[in-house]
Amino acid sequence: MGSAEEDYNFVFKVVLIGESGVGKTNLLSRFTRNEFNHDSRTTIGVEFSTRTILVGDAVVKAQIWDTAGLERYRAITSAYYRGAVGALVVFDITKHQTYDVVDRWLKELYDHAEASIVVMLVGNKTDLAQAREVPMEEAKMFADNNGLLFVETSALDSTNVEEAFETILKEIFYKVQKQKQRSSQSNTVSLASENPASTAPAQAERRPCCVAL
């Protein structure tokens, strides 16, 4: 409730990356619209979704960039990492190949995004447990060794989808807070992709949020 509550409203740009067909688009539609589509269309280029959540007293708007998974597209999609403060690197637990290339996706990410970006490794499709090819411990260990958050999800049955996004948004939020404490000026948050106070539409969006809850 201090005078600095303006800064509690953030727009966090988060990118969804990973191989084609691991379920990025459905993870996003589950999180933003609570929808799942068995036959979602191939993503070409990039698609967008947003959702606003509450972190502590702060209203955080997640602006999620859902990128095409095709390797050939990487040259063009890499531009989409610019300004991202968070990334979900998604693989399919039933396809080892999609896990094997996580390394390459990470390299791609760190080449183009800021070093401070918060990264979460997401093993999707836990509803297909009988077809699992990637042991959870293996992925977890890989995440720990590389300083990544880790979660297993199912966009189909909703398991952990909410948690995954909430966790990464919280993590970004705390990182931003820490940075802000370190720097004396409140507006030098390099992590935040946009300063919501600077644009009228963002301000208008902020008003109806139920901070009081």
Binding site: D39, T42, I44, E47, F48, I76
Partner: protein, 527 residues
Amino acid sequence: PAALPRAPLGFTDVNLNSRNTYEVSRRRSAPEHLPHGGTAPAEPAPPPQEPAERARQRVGIAGAGSSFAEFFTRNFFTKRTKELKPAVQSAPGWKLFGKVPPRENLPKDSKIIQQEYEARTGRMYKPPPSSARRKNIEFEPLSTTALILEDRPANLPAKSVEEALRHRQEYDEMVAEAKKREIKEAHKRKKIMRERFKQEENIASAMVIWVNEILPNWEGMRATRRVRELWWQGLPPSVRGKVWSLAVGNELNITPELYEIFLSRAKERWKSFSETSSENDTEDAGASVADREASLELIKLDISRTFPSLYIFQKGGPYHDLLHSVLGAYTCYRPDVGYVQGMSFIAAVLILNLEEADAFIAFANLLNKPCQLAFFRVDHSMMLKYFAAFEVFFEENLPKLFLHFKSYSLTPDIYLIDWIFTLYSKSLPLDLACRVWDVFCRDGEEFLFRTGLGILRLYEDILLQMDFIHIAQFLTKLPEDITSEKLFSCIAAIQMQNSNKKWAQVFASLMKDNKEGDKNHSPAPKS
């Protein structure tokens, strides 16, 4: 009398509930207009007791005095429900306003209904003797006999004169309102039907011209003004594939036999692929093999994600194998390009309009056009040139929106990648996308970018109100109700002229700048 103050409440309720009963009884009062031997009863006639039972409950709930309610149901409803059964069986039920949904015996019924209506209105009140009403007789709100106009049952106190007058007035207003609405809707429906008929007529006559005049003299006529204009109107679906094929051409000289060869090669690969992948992963295999297999895997994945709503290309669907074949053959034919996402949409649209081998030939030649080749090879620097040329015309045609986008650093790649890679087949409704393809085949790559500007123009006012993320969301998921008339009039309004330079010239000068830039700054050859 003690129950009277409460009576209106219960009475209104009962009226609404028993409307059909009432109307049916009215109809019986004009038996000469009753349909004879109607075979399809409107709805299963409810057991006679039921409405009365329900009404009794309602009256009870409404709080009417018990003695009144008993009297009321006994004397009013039993009488009415006795009449209900035979009448309902011989004629369709009524809604307060408008006709009931069409039935099998509709043509006969609607006429009878109309006669009946006329007879009734003639009896009930004198309609204004306007000729307009006569003309619009088919738009008359039918069955507008609301109880409001009637005197109360004999066992209730009569309406006062003022009340009766007021009810008459209210009733007239309701009728007028309903009539207005029905006329408006009917006009709208008629207009849509007229347009559709006209469109179908146009398509039919255009088809004759295409088949008899243009196609036999293709080379001589394709560039004539008349043909170009007809072309702009959209190709008749029956000649669409043929015209696309001719317009795209076959520079690559692919024959159906060649297609068969590449197809069988692709089939061999799928076979060996499914064998090896079941044994082991691609650890000791070369990178190119791994890539090729990944590409085969990707085709499999993407086919089910191509026009999923059509249920044509999904596994088990009629064109699943066809799409698989065309894409597989292409990766064997052009391993340097391989399979790139977006291709499945293009191949699918072609398959919908052409025979298998022709679809492949058109596909390979289409993808060999400079713009498509640049995109499908993901030649980033070339793509940037296309985006830059697009922006030249964007600024020229829609300066306000251009600045708006600039202020958010919203670059055209965000929406153009999807549009260009799939030639709008993913982002526009399929029939509309086909019309875009029609003119794309006529005008070439320039039309793809002109279409993009047409979309921006169509939604300019909305987009000017939006911020970055909303624009990005909007343009990567366009409204589904976008119509071809509106879009094409917006496209027509886009001028592909920039200070007397056409698209090709603008693009060429951008390419030249690039080369000079390379000479000056980076002599090393680009990869």
